[in-house]
């Protein structure tokens, strides 16, 4: 029985699970470059930024997403990078 199993499973039902999984899968499908290329780019970015900042390489997240243009005339592929800076580090290193 559907509603009983739902009751025991908790709040999220399977259609929400499907939706969320799809959003992730499709985002990476839409990315302009392959996973290998993404990984390479990520490493290059880390290398460059590490020269100036002490960053948390584990928590770093880079993806390509579709973003609405400012004048809402359409969408554009954008590189989104979320790079956490390690706590306790001085904002800028001396070169």
């Amino acid at each position: 029985m559907g509603f009983i199993s739902n009751f025991f499973k908790g709040s999220e039902n399977s259609s929400d699970v499907a939706k969320n999984r799809l959003k992730v899968a499709i985002t990476s499908d839409r990315a302009v470059c392959s996973p290998e290329l993404m990984e390479q780019m990520k490493n290059d970015i880390i290398e460059v930024i590490s020269k100036y900042l002490d960053i948390d390489t584990e928590g770093l997240d880079i993806k390509v997403t579709k973003t609405e243009l400012e004048d809402s005339s359409g969408t554009i592929n954008a590189l989104l990078a979320n790079i956490p800076i390690k706590e306790g580090s001085r904002n800028f290193r001396k070169r």
Partner: protein
């Protein structure tokens, strides 16, 4: 000048051929001159869904290779005089035809027909490229399943890259009872993910299986799916048709639920 519409999906088995048969028949019922082209060379299916399999003498490849004239290969439907089928070849493969040849064929048929419907094979290879070559607009068919939706997204991207003008979505085999329980994505969920305009929602209906067994499209019948297909046809013609089916079924379930409450 006629309009060329490609019906595509990416994933197989989501109902492209059934959609082509029903939308094509529906447009013919509404008085339009329609030709359905089965572009799935090597795996033809549209002829059996239309119930015209025993009339095939020439096929798409014969036309392209100039073994016969277009008129000789067109099979007139047994129910509607302004509906025709151009069947696919069963003995060749996708490479027997090029996108350029398909475009030329579509342009020739444009002169005579109001609507040219291309039933696209599954996949994104040559068969897909052939089917979309001459298309003005596309209907993307998907079911509310993760695999089908993901492939639909890929197809929509390819259609955009090939500059196919309008692209509309048909959500097929929706089960309103499962949506209500939260175990199936709703058409709104699918539209939200794919971000293209919806042109129709077709409920899962056992009448479809029966109609296919008999080789008779059910568009225009009193069944839920039959009504849904007719609504799609009217929307293709530019009419603003409200989405009736879903509400009706919800009404039914509400009534059902109220019996339980007593």
């Amino acid at each position: 000048m006629g309009e060329v519409i490609v019906i595509t999906s990416g994933k197989g088995g989501v109902g492209k051929t059934t959609t082509t048969a029903n939308v094509g028949t529906g447009l013919a019922m509404l008085g339009k001159k329609v030709v359905l082209i089965d572009t799935d060379i090597g795996l033809r299916n549209l002829d059996v869904v239309m119930g015209l399999e025993n009339r095939i003498v020439y096929n798409l490849v014969d036309v392209v290779e100039n073994n016969c004239r277009i008129k000789q290969a067109l099979i007139k439907d047994k129910r509607y005089p302004n509906l025709y089928l151009l069947p696919s070849a069963q003995t060749k493969d996708k490479t027997a035809v090029t996108p350029e040849q398909m475009k030329k064929l579509a342009d020739e048929l444009r002169e005579e027909f109001d609507y040219i419907l291309m039933d696209c094979p599954a996949g994104i290879e040559q068969g897909f490229k052939n089917a979309i070559a001459g298309a003005d607009r596309a209907l993307v068919v998907t079911t509310p399943e993760v695999s089908a939706v993901r492939d639909a997204d890929r197809i929509i991207g390819l259609l955009e890259a090939n500059e196919i003008g309008q692209t509309h979505l048909i959500v097929n085999r929706l089960r309103t009872d499962m949506v209500r329980e939260g175990n199936m994505m709703s058409s709104d969920d699918v539209v939200e993910i794919l971000a293209i305009d919806l042109i129709g929602v077709v409920p899962d209906d056992e009448q479809i299986v029966i109609a296919t067994n008999n080789g008779e499209p059910l568009v225009g019948s009193e069944s839920k799916a039959g009504k849904a297909y007719m609504n799609i046809c009217n929307r293709i013609l530019g009419e603003d048709v409200p989405y009736l089916d879903l509400e009706e079924t919800q009404g039914f379930f509400k009534r059902f639920a109220s019996i339980f409450k007593k």
